[in-house]
């Protein structure tokens, strides 16, 4: 059976996906599968940037061009803004990035500071992680934490220790890329637990089903973290289908694929359940004199099955 059949009519919120690295085909497929909103955390682009202007342009594209691209497919695009852990190691540049962050975190649709945290767990990473926690606290924004691939369990604990040390309410912190080894502590300590369904390196979705069965849906949310690597922008709807096959209730599925992420990030004041239940087209602020965003002679849909290109 096609996974799309079992999830028809459901809405999804992919709370971690790097659309900058994806094509319009992905946007179309996500929209078709029921993804109505997404969060794009600021991250590492696969190779280091060499100047602060590259960061500025990247942040500006997350609140500008990428948001516009998403809107063409009826998808609401939000983002979290921050200095990622890898690039925190270039200290001279990191200082300059810290200086421009306040210009971006108050912008519309910025729902948190992220993704920040540890990669190698160096002193420089810790320094900028701490500085950005303070920034988030001052701005009243949630924090989206990237937990490290290497030395993961220790790194995840340490990330949470530091957040608490800086006076953040665990309810304002989304700890991402959890797995079987980290989930219990994350939930125990009152943080939100994000899970990334990403082939080979992070969670597989059969394992995810087991986690939801074991821990229930409270404070758990899933995402694709699709990016420039081999990843799957349909990870959230596919996992919803798999959960359904395994008898997890529609209510629980909705919590882990939609509502929990909305509740967590709505604390930014930049998104709400009400807003997300409206079709994008009727948001007047996105329009000019009543015209839609589908412009530039761009057809809303290209027929992929046809050999003819008009």
């Amino acid at each position: 059976m096609n996974f799309m059949d079992s999830i028809r009519g459901m809405s999804f919120f992919d709370m971690h996906v790097h659309m900058t690295s994806r094509t319009t085909d992905d946007y179309q497929a996500m929209a078709d599968a029921g993804v109505v909103a997404m969060i794009e955390p600021a991250f590492w682009l696969g190779q280091p940037r060499t100047g602060v202007d590259s960061f500025r342009d990247y942040f500006a594209s997350l609140v500008g061009w990428e948001r516009f691209r998403a809107s063409q497919f009826g998808i609401r695009h939000y983002c979290t803004i921050g200095l990622n852990s890898k690039e925190a190691n270039q200290e001279e540049l990191a200082e300059q990035v810290m200086e421009i962050l306040p210009q971006f975190i108050y912008k519309e649709g910025v729902v948190g500071v992220g993704e920040i945290g540890f990669d190698d767990q160096t002193p420089a990473e810790e320094k900028y992680y701490r500085a950005q926690l303070d920034l988030a606290k001052e701005a009243g924004l949630p924090v989206q934490i990237h937990t490290p691939h290497r030395d993961k369990k220790q790194g995840t604990s340490r990330s949470m220790d530091i957040a608490i040390e800086h006076g953040l309410d665990p309810g304002m912190v989304i700890v991402d890329h959890n797995n079987e080894e980290t989930v219990r502590e994350t939930l125990d300590r009152g943080f939100w637990a994000g899970f990334t369904i990403y082939p080979f390196t992070k969670m597989g979705n059969e394992r995810m089903v087991e986690i939801v069965k074991q821990y229930g849906p409270e404070r758990i949310m899933i995402n694709s973290a699709a990016d420039w690597g081999i990843s799957d922008p349909l990870a959230v709807p596919k996992t919803a289908a798999l959960m359904k096959q395994h008898g997890i209730s529609d209510e629980a599925i909705r919590l882990v694929t939609f509502t929990n992420a909305v509740t967590a990030f709505a604390q930014s004041g930049q998104l709400s359940l009400d807003e997300l239940s409206q079709p994008l087209g009727i948001d007047q602020s996105q329009r000019f004199n009543g015209s839609s965003v589908l412009r530039g002679g761009q057809a809303p849909r290209v027929d992929k099955e046809s050999t003819i290109i008009k």
Partner: protein
């Protein structure tokens, strides 16, 4: 245009909006603060955070207010604007304009890091900013922008391009408007700035459309 008159009229219009008392009080406080200590950081923060304080509803624009605004700045219209857009344009008028370089630099920085709705407000504000000739390049960048709302803010109901663009830039605006399906009848100065070079380019464009079996955009004949 006097900046003071425009500033007062726009704030008056904001005050006329339902439930705007708290927002207007906030805006007055920020202006006082800016006059005491004109720090760029304050100027940027207020501009960026505007929707949180004034909201994003469409404004009510009584005909006599539209008339008053047009009288202060011919060709300038706030029809169809949201409150945050109106308040942002008003806020730009609060920036001290006595030092030309500082003024141009401060506003240029806003363009550099702007999100979509901020860009719309910035391009809408061009007709009421000081030192009009200094925004010519940024205005052409707005035409190059691929975001529909941003293009519309500079192309439609905006007197700045017709007043400031040279022939090449103006012709690009018209072509880009056709290529991006704008309602070209909303372009200010459309007929006044007709020129032979534009007619030639549009004639070629019409022939190209016909060769491809595609229809001509509406209102094109009027410019041929």
């Amino acid at each position: 245009m006097t900046i003071l008159a425009m500033s007062q009229t726009l704030l008056y219009l904001l005050e006329q909006q339902p439930d705007s008392a708290a927002a207007v009080q906030y805006l007055r406080q920020q202006t006082d603060q800016l006059q005491i200590d004109p720090k760029p950081a304050l100027f940027y923060r207020v501009f960026t955070a505007m929707p949180r304080y004034v909201g994003k509803q469409m404004i009510d624009l009584p005909p006599d207010m539209a008339f008053a605004i047009e009288r202060i700045r011919p060709g300038f219209s706030v029809s169809g604007w949201t409150r945050d857009r109106l308040a942002r344009v008003w806020w730009l008028l609060q920036l001290p304009a006595d030092d030309e370089e500082r003024y141009v630099n401060t506003i240029s920085q806003l363009f550099k890091g702007a999100e979509l709705n901020e860009l719309v407000a910035l391009y809408s504000a061009l007709p009421v900013l000081s030192y009009p000739t200094r925004w010519r390049f940024l205005a052409t960048e707005g035409i190059r922008n691929n975001i529909a709302d941003v293009q519309s803010a500079i192309m439609l109901h905006n007197p700045y391009p017709a007043e400031q663009f040279d022939e090449a830039a103006w012709n690009q605006l018209i072509l880009k408007a056709f290529f991006t399906d704008k309602d070209i009848t909303q372009i200010t100065g459309l007929h006044d700035r007709k020129n032979a070079r534009l007619t030639q380019t549009l004639t070629d464009y019409a022939a190209e459309r016909q060769a491809a079996g595609r229809a001509l955009p509406p209102h094109m004949e009027e410019l041929l």
